[in-house]
Subunit: 414 residues, 2 copies
């Protein structure tokens, strides 16, 4: 008899029929002899509807009240899920973050989990109940309601699984698992059976719409096996564990596309008086994530040194404000922005990966008539920036070139 | 500088514009030098929508989870109200029942308030904030969420006003105040300026759609002045205090109509082996309110004694189950049900009331061709049951006969 944490996303709970289906999954796990903790997101689009309500009332709502508002979404789901399990003749109880003792810091709208109490959970599990817990929310030491940021219900689930020493954390969603590429772009993309935490993290960071990164980080840190699977089908999804690589594992696992990026370049006297480090620390303080940092020393007095990085277009406004202020303080420094870019990444693993994948990637793009704007590599990732309109063509060409549609037993064409 | 509790009902908060209007009322009271506590209901029809959701999921949802679900309605309102006050440049904070310490018993869906803590409220008021508290909900000693029953936001407001020693409890609603009759039935019904708690209680019990009875009972018990007024208009509403009667006060204050009643009659051996007291105690245990109890001794062996009472048609199913069981245990007892009745009541006060009002009521009904089914009187009420289709005609005739459209300074035609 084990302990399973099951997490159901908004699309898996969008109407009463789906709620009953989710309830049946929890009950089945219970009947299989497991203790079951269920984590629920808000139903369907209800979080967006609540945000719309807030925007109607205030252009800049206080974050504390925004959390009070948004947390009602999961509260509705958890009550309905408990009702559905009860209606099927099994005992269930919903517990709020305060009732569980799911403590966070006091950073409203982006709180971090600090501690989860086991007392009440153990008590209810011992009484034979299925426990329903709202994802995405917590409470600070004073009893203020907090939320963990969009998509953080996965984080709640994995953190609970870690604290409870669960045997498995199941993330039920509207896709069959994690794919070799976005099936919307590459129709014959293949579901991947197993992946390592690092691979999923890299894929998520590079645009794959998979499980929330913080959840995977929790999973990696505490060694929680995570199964991402479909709430509608009874098929196996993608199992995420510490290390998925073995002899059968192909070197290249998938390709990802991240759209709507911007390259910001500071040139002129960009190297003077700590401009770069000042900028980086200000961006970090505002929690703006940047990637693809490149620097070049001054080759002549006119061009000066330059320093560039990529950032999501939604962060551009904030980045511009910081850059403009810093460069105005320093004569000769200039800011240049190049919009409309995408990043294509190849995610791989193992010693065979780097050997030839970079060459193959560049060859493939060249054949497709695409000239990459910038190339970067890491232990398990090859990325390049390119014009946004060429992103999907590039993804399809790379998926084909690395033969990702073939079964994992097949050869990877490196 | 005083303390004011303001309560806004669902129709007063049904969209962002109305929320801002309610916020302006709170701010105005603050600017007038008062400390302000606001109690909010769920927006518009949101409680009904949540109930519909619950019914879709379960035919008989557990009451604990129903409370978890329903309480989200007020939580949405309280956050939006705090946002609206903040957007207008004033400090506000929403506090949940747990955060306030609004303790109830553990009777889910119909909990009773036991204790309200002042600590957090006093702290936030001293910091100059307008406090927003959800109506209708509380917490039991264990931290379980409870609700007080439909319409109980008024009760929360008056209970808070009592505990805080507020100078006034303002109930903002979608009507201008309490009227001499339902303006939907009697178009020239007149708003009443002042009423006593007892009069309002009698009117509410007899079908007037006014403030929730439990709220008025709280008000009477703790001497809280209650002002029922329109959230849309800036006119005076109806002030409810301990005693509104004085020389200027007319003897008859209003007429009310309560529809859809049923008379249940037990006859045959209805007096044997404590049938009546057994029935009354079972009805009380199920919290089924009955009125117009009449008993008659047996005049002959065939008719036997009989015992009848009136009950709302929504309770008929429960009442029948109890009656059938009790009569089956006793040979010769029969149950008869007469449906489709209404009760018309005349609410009055003072020594002039009883003297001639009963005669006038019966005369008026007779002139209108209505034969009352049963008449009952109390200190401040004359009531009679009559066929439902004659209810509105009776109300209009009585309103006219007692000259209730005249200003309160005018003579009451008794």
């Amino acid at each position: 008899m084990g302990l399973i944490v099951q997490k159901f996303g908004g699309t898996s709970l969008s109407d009463s029929e789906r709620i009953h289906r989710a309830a049946r999954r929890a009950i089945r796990a219970k009947l299989n002899g497991h203790r079951v903790v269920v984590v629920v997101s808000a139903m369907g689009r209800s979080t967006n509807m609540l945000l719309d309500l807030a925007r109607e009332v205030s252009g800049d709502p206080p974050k504390r009240e925004l959390d009070v508002l948004l947390s009602t979404g999961e509260q509705v789901s958890m009550a309905l899920m408990a009702m559905a399990i009860d209606a099927a003749g099994h005992e269930a109880i919903s517990l709020s973050a305060v009732q569980v003792g799911l403590f966070t810091d006091s950073a409203f709208t982006r709180a971090k989990i600090q501690r989860i109490s086991r007392t009440r959970i153990d008590e209810e599990l011992s009484a034979g109940r299925i426990i329903i817990i709202p994802g995405f929310q917590g409470t600070d030491a004073r009893g203020e309601l907090t939320t963990l940021g969009r998509g953080a219900s996965d984080t709640t689930a994995v953190a609970l699984a870690a604290v409870l020493g669960a045997d498995l954390c199941e993330i039920y969603t509207d896709v069959k698992g994690i794919f070799t590429a976005d099936p919307q772009i590459v129709p014959h993309a293949r579901k991947i059976d197993t992946l390592g935490y690092d691979e999923v993290l890299e894929m998520a960071a590079r645009g794959a719409k998979v499980t929330h990164s913080r959840a995977i980080e929790f999973g990696r840190k505490y060694g929680v096996p995570i199964h991402v699977c479909s709430s509608a089908l009874d098929s196996e999804g993608t199992m995420i564990t510490a290390d998925s690589s073995n002899l059968e594992t192909p070197a290249v696992r998938g390709v990802t596309l991240k759209e709507d990026l911007v390259i910001v370049t500071l040139s002129g006297n960009a190297d003077q008086s700590g401009l770069m480090s000042k900028l980086l620390s200000e961006l970090a303080a505002d929690e703006i994530g940047i990637t693809d940092i490149t620097t070049a020393q001054a080759v002549d007095r006119v061009a000066g040194a330059h320093f560039s990085f990529a950032v999501g277009s939604s962060d551009l406004r904030d980045v511009r404000i910081i850059c403009d202020r810093l460069t105005q303080e320093r004569s000769g420094a200039r800011v240049n922005v190049e919009e409309g870019l995408s990043k294509v990444s190849v995610v791989g693993v193992g010693s065979r990966f780097h050997a030839s994948a970079t060459a193959k990637m560049l060859e493939t793009l060249a054949c497709a008539g695409i000239e990459p704007r910038a190339v970067s590599t890491s232990e398990i990732i090859l990325s390049c920036l390119l014009p946004m309109q060429q992103g999907e063509v590039a993804i399809r060409a790379l998926h084909e070139a690395f033969a990702l549609s073939s079964s994992p037993q097949g050869l990877n064409a490196i």
